[in-house]
């Protein structure tokens, strides 16, 4: 028995992130850690990595309790976490990145380049990486897969007994995923305890020996991978029936509100699509298909090179964000925190930013009207915040997303574009967002949703437009849509090639 956590609990102010979780990670075995966003997977990994101290409970390695106060402590104990996005020093070579902090030296503190080269060559050969990783490549030129390999090398060149992978495949191609799995199997064969955090179920069954499921901070159960299937795991994760979340009246009309005709930008080519009043259209496709770039162009954030965008049948030039907004297009971007929120400003500021023009008299913002408007939307979207003066960064992801929605609803747009509206938010908040979308559609808004989660695409949409490599490859009605049909269109090129 290698790594064990016992009765771990952790609370972040209002949120019980982990509640009395006890779990074993045996050596020579891959244990998958599953759960919805916010279920506590990351918190558990961070506790094992010494980034968080548990409120109670302990981490044991070989039955010895560990005192983990920092990642350095975890590393000394032989625990390594491979993060989703490894920290890579951009302007130094792979070799220096791998041995960062323990570079080869001679004659005191002089850097020994020759010894470093020998070391990296040996390690690359030993691990079978010599063909995929050139030790001289500067960090900034590495692909996401190579960056992870560097991080794995960092782990393996020290004495690692436990390696945790946090969503390792999110930015990897299929071949790279296969190579990573081969490596993980080899590490397992060498007797390491592997923790594998992911929400991609298909992968889990390819690589994991055991599946541990967390929900709302508590351990739901641990089962051998061979004794369960995707459906059962999903039920363990969600604890409720998924289809009920999407139940809504379908009220699409025939009146076209947004019409995109032959639009070409730097990232997408000759895209045409329509969204009607009361209709929810989902843009499906793989990451990099150009969906977000299309949305940003429609929001005036990226230049449209040719083609026309019409709102209510009127061709509308969109050269700046304010032109899109004035035309009635609202855009809630993919990266809530980086692209939408003023994190250290109050909820009120974040909501009214889109309508300040309307709240001012002689350029003075009318404080009463402002507070009334913010309060109205906090109530309407049920944003859980102590007050409208609360800083937005202290809210949960779901409530932050509702603040972004409130901002745009305050402008009463004709077209609402939502880019990954439920990314990183918990199931309960997801259901509420779906509910809001349903209400808006019923009120006659035209809604375009980008989502990479197929169940969400299938559940939400009246119609699905699929993109690949910057082009629309097909359109599916609600009746014809299935995961297979969407994927076939999303990978159409690769299949014909």
């Amino acid at each position: 028995m290698q790594l064990r956590v016992e009765h771990i609990s952790k609370r972040f102010a209002p949120v019980q992130a982990l509640a009395d979780v006890s779990l074993e990670f045996p050596s020579g075995s891959v244990t998958a850690l599953l759960g919805e966003n916010g279920a506590g997977k990351s918190t558990l990994v961070r506790i094992i990595n010494g980034e968080h101290l548990p409120d109670s409970g302990q981490v044991l390695l070989h039955d010895q309790p560990l005192s983990l106060h920092s990642p350095a402590d975890a590393r000394r104990a032989g625990i390594r976490v491979i993060p989703q996005e490894p920290e890579i020093v951009p302007y130094v070579s792979v070799a220096e990145n791998v041995y960062i902090g323990a570079l080869s030296r001679r004659a005191g503190r002089f850097f020994d380049r020759a010894a470093l080269r020998r070391r990296i060559a040996e390690d690359l050969a030993r691990l079978g990486f010599e063909r995929v990783l050139d030790p001289d490549t500067p960090g900034k030129d590495l692909t996401p897969a190579q960056r992870q390999l560097v991080e794995i090398l960092r782990a393996l060149t020290t004495e690692a007994k436990v390696i945790a992978f946090d969503e390792p495949t999110s930015s990897l191609s299929e071949q790279e995923v296969e190579a990573l799995f081969d490596l993980i199997r080899r590490l397992r064969g060498e007797g390491l305890a592997i923790i594998y955090v992911s929400h991609r179920l298909g992968e889990i069954f390819q690589i994991a020996d055991r599946v541990a499921v967390l929900r709302d901070g508590a351990l739901v159960g641990v089962v051998p991978a061979t004794e369960t299937d995707e459906g059962r795991v999903v039920r363990m994760m969600v604890g409720r029936d998924l289809t009920a979340m999407f139940a809504r009246p379908h009220v699409a009309t025939d009146r076209v509100v947004l019409s995109v005709d032959n639009v070409t930008t730097d990232d997408v080519t000759d895209v045409s699509l329509q969204v009607r009043a009361g209709e929810v259209v989902a843009l499906a496709g793989l990451v990099g298909a150009g969906r977000s770039e299309l949305c940003r162009a429609l929001a005036g954030d990226l230049p449209i090179r040719s083609g026309t965008v019409s709102i209510d049948g009127v061709a509308t030039p969109i050269r700046h964000t304010w032109e899109a907004i004035d035309a009635g297009i609202a855009y809630a971007p993919e990266e809530r925190k980086a692209q939408a929120l003023l994190l250290s400003r109050p909820v009120r500021d974040n909501i009214v930013i889109s309508v300040l023009e309307r709240l001012q008299r002689f350029r003075f913002v009318r404080a009463g009207a402002e507070r009334a408007l913010a309060s109205r939307y906090v109530e309407r979207l049920r944003i859980r915040t102590p007050s409208i003066e609360h800083e937005v960064r202290k809210l949960s992801g779901g409530n932050q997303q509702k603040v972004v929605l409130a901002r745009w609803l305050a402008r009463d747009p004709k077209v609402l574009i939502l880019d990954e509206p439920t990314r990183g938010i918990d199931v309960g908040a997801k259901a509420e967002i779906y509910h809001i979308i349903a209400d808006l559609a019923q009120a006659g808004m035209a809604i375009l949703v980008v989502s990479s989660e197929l169940p969400e695409v299938l559940g939400l949409a009246d119609r699905i437009v699929v993109m690949q490599n910057g082009r629309v490859t097909g359109e599916l009605s609600r009746a014809d849509a299935s995961e297979e049909a969407i994927l076939a269109l999303a990978m159409a090129d690769d299949m014909t090639r």
Partner: protein, 328 residues
């Protein structure tokens, strides 16, 4: 009561506490320190740094910084003195109004140039204004031949600005307070100010919310240039002559010091005129007190630097997110 305290903010309260402590300490050590005439002296000396600090606060809030203000002050001073000389007969009897107007236009132009370089050249604000610090100083030296220019003391308007007073308070202090109040109202009560805070807090979010962030940035730098010009005019009128490097001998750094001491975040989006003014006053009161007590002026610099370090350390330890200095 607590709501009122929260509105003032922890930062401002600690500044106020420090100011009261400094005033009490030197008042106790020297009874003349708190006399009306000495308070007027403090007021006069903090005016110039105060003006620049107010402008600097606005630009730091929108995520920028203007290191070139000192050179803009010198350039505006030279231009105003030359205009005054040009419109009069040699050195006297020129048009003070023309001198002021031309200087302010030149200041605004400097600011627009800074803004355009930063926005359309996509240059980091520190680098851009560092370059323009040298460039504007050079222009001022070229115009003046490196010499002090003009004689402004004969004009009634200039005399009123630098020596006059209204209800017992020096005119230049009034000017500073009026500009500070105007900028404060702009920042806190208008949609323009709210957009400036939004731009500094998250430029991408501001752009996606439909704010023309380029226009805002250029306008804010232009505003800084105009305030720098006013500072230059006062500086020249006070000493009677304009010197091309008059503003770039520590004044601009004092203004930036005050802005950070007053609670501005270097990343933007945070800070206010109230905190900056308190910080300016604190620095001025400290400097004057040390002078009154006959402390070696070199030690005064040390005291000022130590104050900023202490303030920023407290601020960073409370809110900071820097990777450097975390336990390994």
């Amino acid at each position: 009561m607590t709501a009122a305290l929260r509105r003032i903010g922890a930062q401002n309260l600690s500044l106020l506490g420090a100011l009261i402590a400094v005033l009490a300490l030197f008042g106790y050590l020297n009874p003349d320190y708190l006399s009306w005439s000495n308070v007027r002296v403090i007021g006069n000396t903090v005016t110039l740094a105060g003006l620049l600090a107010v402008a600097q606060t606005a630009v730091i809030i929108c995520g920028g910084i203007d290191i070139s203000v000192g050179s803009q002050v010198g350039l505006a001073a030279i231009v105003s003195a030359m205009t005054f000389a040009e419109t009069g007969d040699g050195l006297a009897n020129g048009s003070a109004v023309a001198a002021i107007a031309v200087a302010i236009v030149v200041g605004a132009a400097c600011g627009v140039i800074n803004g355009v370089i930063i926005v359309y050249g996509r240059v980091n604000a520190i680098i851009a204004t560092l370059a323009m610090l040298a460039a504007y100083k050079g222009v001022a030296q070229l115009l003046s031949g490196g010499q002090a220019v003009g004689y402004l003391q004969g004009d009634d308007l200039f005399i009123f600005i630098v020596r006059g007073s209204v209800v017992g308070i020096p005119t230049m202090v009034w000017i500073m307070l009026a500009i500070a109040l105007a900028v404060h109202v702009l920042l806190k009560m208008t949609d323009i100010g709210r957009n400036i805070y939004a731009l500094g807090g998250n430029a991408t979010a501001a752009r996606l919310a439909g704010i023309n962030i380029n226009k805002y940035l250029i306008a804010v730098y232009a505003m800084v240039g105009m305030v720098a010009a006013i500072t230059g005019i006062i500086l020249a009128a006070r000493s009677g002559s304009a010197h091309p490097t008059a503003g770039s001998e520590g004044l601009e750094l004092k203004a930036i010091t005050a802005a950070f001491l007053g609670g501005c975040a270097i990343a933007g989006g945070r800070g206010g005129i109230g905190g900056t003014l308190l910080a300016v006053l604190l620095l001025g009161a400290l400097e004057n007190g040390l002078t009154v007590e006959g402390v070696n002026p070199f030690w005064q610099n040390v005291a000022q630097g130590a104050l900023l370090v202490a303030a920023v350390v407290i601020q960073q330890r409370r809110t900071g997110d820097r990777a450097v200095g975390l336990p390994s």
